[in-house]
């Protein structure tokens, strides 16, 4: 049940759509970038959230999300998302994120999401093999 220590990195460029009247990225969009980070991590580890849903018929809804905003992200900034993953129990998976502006390495935010495995009709179930194998 150890975390996958090697952080997986990917990048997003801040869209104008993601900014707000304060001239910075709106705070809810960081949770969307978290999604980009965790899906990219699964893809880089040879898995895919699409396959988990389509082939395993398992969903991973978020049951808890947390974000600490440290420095604003602006339009057109390239943000590097470092994601790590932990497997705290048979039905749960947790991702931790660090977001930094690529240009000057300033950390803009850190956060985490906790997910539970469910069937299509919402019943809690075991994580699919596809995921637990990553921690073997």
């Amino acid at each position: 049940m150890n975390p996958i220590l090697r952080a997986i990195s990917c990048q997003v460029r801040v869209r104008y759509a993601e900014t707000d009247a304060m001239g910075v990225a709106y705070y809810a969009n960081y949770l969307t970038w978290f999604e980009v980070g965790r899906c990219d991590l699964l893809r880089q580890l040879g898995s895919s959230y699409r396959d988990i849903e389509h082939e395993d018929q398992i969903y991973l809804p978020v049951i808890e999300a947390h974000c600490r905003y440290k420095s604003p992200a602006h339009y057109d900034d390239v943000i590097e998302i470092k994601t790590t993953v932990t497997h705290p129990s048979r039905a749960r998976i947790r991702f931790d994120y660090e977001l930094a502006r690529l240009e000057d390495r300033t950390v803009v935010a850190t956060g985490s999401t906790l997910h539970v495995a469910t069937t299509r009709d919402g019943k809690i179930c075991k994580l699919p093999k596809r995921l637990t194998e990553l921690f073997a």
Copy 2:
């Protein structure tokens, strides 16, 4: 196949999330407000898009959308959405929108969306009775 001439009105208040770094509402969000307008129209006419999906198992994906932006909408503005609906063919339905700032009646945008009725697996079908009855 005449339009429902009586315009149905509802209101949205511009959220901070919907603004951008220009200090005004981001242009894609107007299409979300169009959705609020057409769903409210159906509800006020005694129907409901939820029922169309859940009970009739029919979907109304957008096949064309158009918007003309006339004056910017700002954070906290209350926008009145006037929606009318037309039934151009057996499988299609069209909504027209006029969005105005409530405070000073300035028109901020006009637009339209064209929808086609489909089954869950994407096959084009007739509009549900629930909808065509509105035009009788």
Copy 3:
């Protein structure tokens, strides 16, 4: 520095735009609903975030956000947002949220946001009188 114990309530109806392929509201949108809750609270208490920005030239960026998802929200659900506010220090303000489906009173989520007062150029400053007076 006591919390405003009286919870202020407002409602949002879940938009189709806010749902995702899992058939439920996407998790980042809860943070947008939090925004609706806190802005409505300020308005109901006789203040306004718009005035804080425009007249006091003070911003209240989020420095921390947390959300616990308890039950999914679906398209067209009316969600009641109960918001309370605390004033933990001279420069900070915190909001707590409880979101419940209006129809059956199921709590769908709870959460909080912590904000710091800043000037337009991002320097931390005291909360505007307009806000601290609410706690007097």
Copy 4:
């Protein structure tokens, strides 16, 4: 005033956040992808919308947008955005878009946006040299 005929291409991967309860990308998000397309075009041509705003102090708000939806885009699809640009008058610029699923080259949508150059306070002005030079 000729169009830049060479189409500039970039890619987006459909985010879960961008899908809706129909299981496909929500229609308003295509306008956000248009934004990604036109900003990338400017960047590839050696210009940048960020510089237009920051250095030229000129804004390019959208005054008209149109989209024709031809085939649904699904979660995790990679969408190729081909953008061309035309310069119809001294104050206006127009972008045309074709979006195709990378995997099978299916066109998912075509569309356009028309923009007008304005100063920070909303007065219509000439397009910045940075842009008109691209058409020389």
